[in-house]
């Protein structure tokens, strides 16, 4: 299955891609998902993270099959 990764809004534009897929080697955290995919790009400050459609801390553990999202502060309404 792998971990499905999504980027939104200005972060997606900066990265130049909307999605990634990561095959986890054992247990990984949200922060480790980012580091594995973007080893040379620190997670931009203020970036929000979600796991399976719920807000999550960077330290939250992600499992195979989960969906992880990275996005800037929300600006709806």
């Amino acid at each position: 299955m792998g971990i499905q990764v999504k980027y939104f809004a200005s972060l997606r534009d900066r990265l130049g891609r909307a999605e990634d897929r990561l095959e986890p080697r054992g247990e990984v955290t949200v922060a480790e998902v980012w580091a594995a995919l973007w080893p040379e790009t620190p997670l931009p400050p203020n970036t929000l993270t979600a796991v399976n459609l719920e807000y999550a801390d960077p330290g939250q553990v992600v499992r195979d099959g989960d969906e992880v999202a990275f996005f800037p502060p929300v600006t709806g309404g």
Partner: protein, 146 residues
């Protein structure tokens, strides 16, 4: 209780009328107070001139959080019904962005819940605005505090 995302322009007063007609059938004479907020796209934001806007969202997560925000308000105040409609996609100046309506027996509950739903929506629901300005497209970086 209804929460909807719309990808096309909507008329908030028409939506309110339609929804309230169904409410009047189900709960005649039960509500004394209706508090409503309508957010509309402005054609200015600071110094630049905004010509249009694109509203992006996170399908699935956005709906879930809107539902949860409304459920929390209904848990905190005695509300009879609520209606939330939020645009996504491409907007023109003057287009409605969001409608929040709260029906209650009491005005304090209606006002407080309407305000709370708006603030929670702005701070938690995953939407992102990209403005098309005379200087080109620009992502709105953060919402102003309410």
């Amino acid at each position: 209780m209804k929460v909807e995302l719309r990808s096309k322009p909507f008329d908030p007063l028409l939506e309110l009328g339609l929804y309230q007609a169904s409410l009047d059938e189900r709960r005649p004479g039960r509500y004394g107070a209706t508090a409503i907020f309508i957010g509309t796209m402005r054609d200015f934001n600071g110094d630049e001139t905004v010509r249009g806007m694109t509203l992006e969202h996170y399908p699935g997560m956005t709906e879930r959080h809107l539902q949860r925000i409304v459920a929390a308000a209904r848990g905190e105040w005695p509300l009879l019904d609520t209606l939330v409609i939020h645009r996504v996609g491409e907007l023109q100046p003057n287009d409605p962005i969001v409608l929040v309506a709260v029906w209650s027996a009491h005005r304090a509950a209606a006002f407080a819940a309407c305000r709370c739903i708006m603030e929670e929506l702005k701070s938690k629901a995953p939407f992102w605005k990209r403005e098309d300005t005379t200087d080109g497209p620009r992502w709105v970086e953060h919402n102003t505090p309410g």
